[in-house]
């Protein structure tokens, strides 16, 4: 402490220069370093955030929405059978290395992904290719399905034709994923993007080329400058960008794993913004005139899983009793700092296919008890209810509080709840997913892209132990979702998903209870950042307003 005071006078001189931003440079605090700057090989948000600034996809999303708009393709048309997609490309686009962007480059990228082999077929490496296109040219694992992708042909300089093997309504929207950003074929080849070694002991794929660590080359408004691992990653403006150029000259990403440390770095001006603000910090930030909070539209759902493999949960009357016994309004009102809304469906309202009307279950303890008696059970009905510890998620900032409130309301409603918990990852998630987390458990989901398939399709289209394997998924619902996925007519597809949502609400595999808006924090003088429901946020339009230079 004495020493600290001793430094005081000297330190004061530095303090002014200690911030990370001036009018031209913005420093953003992230939770961790990216893994590698190659969209095809990553699935984590921190990698994708950085890649998104340097790369562009054939189609994009309108800022702040999930609406598909032209990006590298200025227009597109699908054949009548839905199998052939013709993309007309933007003219006059060049990659950061000066190479021209054209139909051949587009096909080179798709063929690269399709021909992944060995460890590149690992779902922890090319997760999104598998999610959207399922398989590869030659599947090396028998659990993989045949590929949805068939071929890509460069019809002329600016026309790329992509053929798929069966109609898919999710195909176009999925192309907006950062993972499918178009990279310079020359850079991919020269810097050996696909080269890597496999760890003999643990089998981890380690890229050995320099493409993803030193030479990521896209067409976006920012280009790569330098990366000091664990310290900072610097991007600079692409002055040759074909569209509106970035307003910032330099964009720096600094990894700060600790949430409290991120907040303090924002307060001192060492960073100018960060993502996933903890709900308890929002008040502090809002009270500070030099800081601001931005809301990201709700794109998640928190729900209570009901495991039908655990009797008496296989009885619909009991599941109805659970739904009526959960005081969802109280939980949302009390524990979400005004940022939550009560959920009735397994997808947020802004996603296509959200039904206008589904069966809703008001909190009604008397009705619950009556339903349980009707099911022939003696009250109270003993159940095990699991919740995770050591985790905070946008849809459940403090799982224990949600659990306690739910347990209290269930105890009112004819149940006797036994509390069980486990640390989130991997312990709790493991139990939750393999169906050994009690009769009820708390869980949730944040969407990857703006499609109903990414919500209800993920949950209910295939058999999953989490719901109990005996009865669910209900055939009818599975068939509806399968049909919806193949339907290319948007109106017909939306109707199918709406029907599925109504059926799900009647079947009650679980009880959705909240959608929340995650928060980002910035210095007050930062403008032009538009939060997106799917976290695809451009820094190109970000700038400092007047006074931005005084840190």
């Amino acid at each position: 402490m004495v020493a600290a005071l001793g430094f005081t006078a000297l330190a004061a001189a530095l303090a002014a220069g200690c911030g990370g931003g001036d009018g031209d440079t913005l420093t953003f605090g992230t939770a961790s370093d990216p893994v590698v700057l190659d969209g095809a090989l990553v699935s984590d948000g921190e990698s994708l955030r950085v890649i998104d600034q340097m790369f562009e996809t054939l189609v994009g999303l309108e800022a702040g929405t999930t609406k598909i708009v032209p990006e590298l393709a200025e227009s597109w048309v699908a054949s009548d059978d839905g199998l052939e997609w013709t993309f007309t490309l933007q003219d006059g686009v060049t990659f950061h290395d000066g190479e021209p962007f054209n139909a051949e480059a587009v096909c080179f990228n798709f063929d690269r992904w399709y021909n992944f082999s060995g460890p590149l077929q690992n779902s922890s490496v090319s997760y999104y290719w598998q999610t959207v296109f399922r398989g590869y040219a030659e599947n090396e694992d028998e659990t993989l399905d045949p590929s949805l992708y068939e071929s890509c042909t460069a019809q002329d300089e600016l026309t790329a034709v992509i053929r798929i093997t069966e109609p898919s309504s999710a195909f176009l929207g999925a192309l907006a994923l950062v993972n499918f950003g178009i990279a310079s074929p020359k850079a991919l080849t020269d810097y050996e993007a696909d080269a890597g070694t496999v760890d003999e002991e643990a089998g981890v794929f380690q890229p050995t080329g320099t493409y993803g660590t030193e030479q990521p080359t896209g067409t976006g408004p920012f280009k790569f400058d330098s990366w000091e691992r664990n310290d900072k990653l610097t991007l600079v403006r692409n002055d040759d960008y074909w569209g509106e150029k970035a307003k910032l000259g330099t964009l720096i990403f600094r990894p700060i794993p600790d949430n409290a440390a991120r907040l303090q770095a924002l307060q001192t001006g060492e960073i100018q913004g960060y993502d996933l603000v903890e709900p308890q910090d929002i008040e502090t930030i809002e009270a500070d005139d030099s800081l601001q909070i931005l809301d990201r539209p709700a794109f998640n759902v928190g729900y209570v899983t009901i495991n039908q493999a655990q009797p008496p949960m296989d009885n619909l009357l009991v599941r109805q009793a659970v739904a009526h016994g959960l005081d969802r309004q109280a939980v949302v009102d009390n524990f979400y700092a005004g940022r939550g809304e009560v959920a009735h469906q397994f997808m947020p309202p802004l996603v296509e296919g959200y039904a206008d009307q589904v069966t809703e279950y008001e909190y009604d303890p008397a009705r619950s008890r009556q339903l349980l008696q009707q099911a022939g059970l003696t009250l109270p009905v003993a159940i095990e209810f699991w919740y995770p510890t050591e985790v905070s998620r946008p849809y459940m900032p403090d799982p224990r509080r949600n659990f306690e409130a739910f347990a209290a309301s269930l105890n009112e409603s004819g149940f006797r709840v036994t509390a069980r918990n486990a640390p989130w990852n991997p312990d709790y998630l493991g139990r939750q997913q393999n169906g050994t987390a009690g009769h009820l458990n708390l869980i949730g989901w944040t969407g990857d892209y703006g499609d109903p398939d990414n919500f209800v399709g993920t949950f209910f289209q295939s058999q999953q132990p989490a719901w109990g394997t005996n009865e669910f998924p209900n055939r009818e619902i599975m068939d509806l979702l399968n049909r919806a996925e193949r339907e290319t007519d948007i109106a017909a597809r939306t109707a199918l998903y709406q029907e599925a949502n109504q059926k799900i609400a009647d079947w009650i595999p679980g009880v959705p209870y909240v959608h929340t808006s995650p928060a980002l924090a910035f210095q007050a003088n930062v403008t032009g950042y538009t939060p997106s429901p799917v976290s695809l946020e451009e820094f190109a339009s970000v700038e400092f307003t007047e006074g931005g230079e005084e840190e």
Partner: protein
Amino acid sequence: MLRFVVRRLLLLVPILLGLSILVFFWIRALPGDPARALLGERATEQTIEQVREQYGLDRPVHIQYIAYMRLVVRGNLGTSIKSRRPVTEEISRRFPATIELAAAAMIFAVFLGVPLGFAAAKRYGGVVDNASLVGSLIGISIPIFFLALILKWIFAVKLGLFPTIGRQSSQISIDHPTNFYVLDAIIALDPVALWDALMHLVLPAIALGSIPLAIIARITRASVLDVQNEDYVRTARAKGLESRIVDRRHIFRNAMLPVVTIIGLQAGLLLSGAILTEKVFAIPGMGSWLADAIVARDYPVLQGGILFVAVVFVLVNLLVDVSYALVDPRVRVSG
């Protein structure tokens, strides 16, 4: 002496072998598997099975161990599951950060603790003595985590005197040939970068150095009190030596022996304290890295990191033993 050092170094082999077995099996006894930790919420049973297979996690443990040791003897500690970088590469970046932090904390603790302890002993029972007693009790009993947060809150957030995160400000750009940022700044002959690196060390060093400071001050005090009642001190005084010289030559040098040992023993304490300090100040060092690896079940990082730390530990202890012999000619290490 040389035989002693060589013998101790040879002892490293069985120690590390035993430790590697312990760590290897202990990590695999942890509940939860890394495939699931890696895939998180996105995991399906199918993808987990696939990842387990690709990472060889479905093989018998002893087969996995032999495969691992084959790599280790070739100097390869494997690849981090999470960052997909070689563990040795990560260590080369992170170890200097922790050493720099620990060294700064030790410098703070020694250069403040020894004079404090000495002054307290010289004025035994006086104000300085009592104040330092209370001070060191507080120093020992405040959790590092709490002290780090308080220091940061007051001196960085409220007063704005120090940076709150990392090892250097984002506008500083110098090469890092050694990854010791202070040293790198000196090599680059960049006074601004040097000042910046030092500023980033002040608060973490104080937080991490507080417990060693208190211990060193108490040990110094007790040791000085012992020594100053020794016959040779009385003799020196009786000879009419100036008290300044008695203090320096006869008391201080002899009183330093136990202090040197304590400084060596603090090495372990510093590493465990570094985990918390690194977390609070977002310093990318060994401590926070290993702590995160436990949560993520990043086996290669845990195995490689712990083995590496163990080697460092054994070497530091050897160094302490050797320096002990150097400081005190009466101590003769025998082969």
